[in-house]
């Protein structure tokens, strides 16, 4: 998978390394900005209130 991506990047090794770095940063940005905030409420790690089982989204 990663070898395949590396092969299909243009330029020499340095250019490819730079593009790879930018790709990684872009992916991390999308994860932190969109994916994780969406996933977090679905996971049972951060419920802090006592309730009748209906706390989410109040």
């Amino acid at each position: 998978m990663y070898v395949w991506i590396w092969r299909h990047l243009p330029g020499n090794a340095w250019v490819r390394a730079l593009i790879s770095l930018l790709l990684v940063l872009a992916i991390v940005y999308v994860l932190f900005q969109y994916v994780f905030p969406w996933a977090e409420p679905l996971l049972p790690f951060n419920d802090v209130t006592v309730d009748n089982g209906m706390a989410v989204n109040r």
Partner: protein
């Protein structure tokens, strides 16, 4: 393998075994599949690690920034002089010296949208919170244990006898912790009652209840700390802090 740079796995697999200059052995479909599976596992691991970084660090950065901004806004409004109680922006600040986390803005509601701003919220449901200035009742608060500001992270360091101070525009409400419940069910809403019997309180009074999740990093149970109002102090022109906070 490198010499075959245009062709990918399938082509590599067809390379003649006996070619002398080739260093890597040709790989079959199974080997390629195993390799892909391994890479996916590594990717999953990195993804989970990033999620931990997000939960325990990045949400704190965002929430601290947001709560600081909102806290400053509330203090600016207070400085403008008397006005109506502003429940939307926040009713005051909670100081718990034994938690060593500075001041925590208190806003209305305990939904995740509110609490994720790095503030503490007072309960509107299932049991409506009393206000500190009410003659009787229970002022009930919730905040995050980890992530999103982690305002109640050190709740386990709060012991009986410790001071909890709530600051409003004109009054310091000084509470004293008298009881804690280190682990209880998340359905135990009785802890929010105006007279929280489980705390050992016998007759109605002016109580304060802190709730958050426990153990740390999970939310299997709830951690409860109860305090009772000891005295109030008028805020003077220099906002001199009560002795519990100095």
């Amino acid at each position: 393998m490198k010499q075959q740079s245009e062709s990918g796995y399938d082509a590599v697999a067809r390379i003649d075994d006996d070619e002398p200059e080739r260093l890597t052995r040709p790989r079959g479909k199974i080997a390629a599949a195993v390799s892909l599976f391994g890479e996916l596992l590594i990717t999953l691991g990195v993804l989970l690690a990033l999620f931990v970084v997000y939960s325990l660090w990045w949400t704190n950065v965002l929430a601290d920034r947001e709560s600081k901004k909102q806290g400053n806004h509330v203090r600016e409004n207070w400085a403008k002089g008397p006005g109506a109680l502003d429940t939307k922006d926040g009713i005051g600040f909670l100081h718990v010296p034994s938690m060593k986390n500075g001041e925590v803005l208190v806003k209305s509601g305990t939904g995740s949208k509110i609490l994720n701003e790095g503030v503490a919220g007072f309960y509107r449901a299932p049991v409506k919170s009393a206000m500190p200035w009410d003659a009787k009742g229970n002022f009930t608060l919730a905040a995050h244990r980890d992530g999103h500001g982690a305002k109640f992270h050190n709740i386990h360091k709060v012991k009986a006898g410790d001071a909890v101070v709530f600051e409003t525009r004109d009054t310091w409400y000084v509470y004293k912790v008298y009881s804690e419940l280190r682990e209880t069910s998340k359905y135990n809403v009785e802890v929010l009652d105006p007279l929280p019997k489980e705390s050992g309180a016998k007759k109605p009074g002016r109580f304060l209840t802190l709730t958050t999740c426990t153990p740390v990093y999970t939310s299997d149970y709830r951690y409860i700390v109860w305090a009772e109002l000891e005295r109030t102090e008028k805020v003077d022109s220099k906002r001199t802090r009560p002795k519990e906070l100095s």
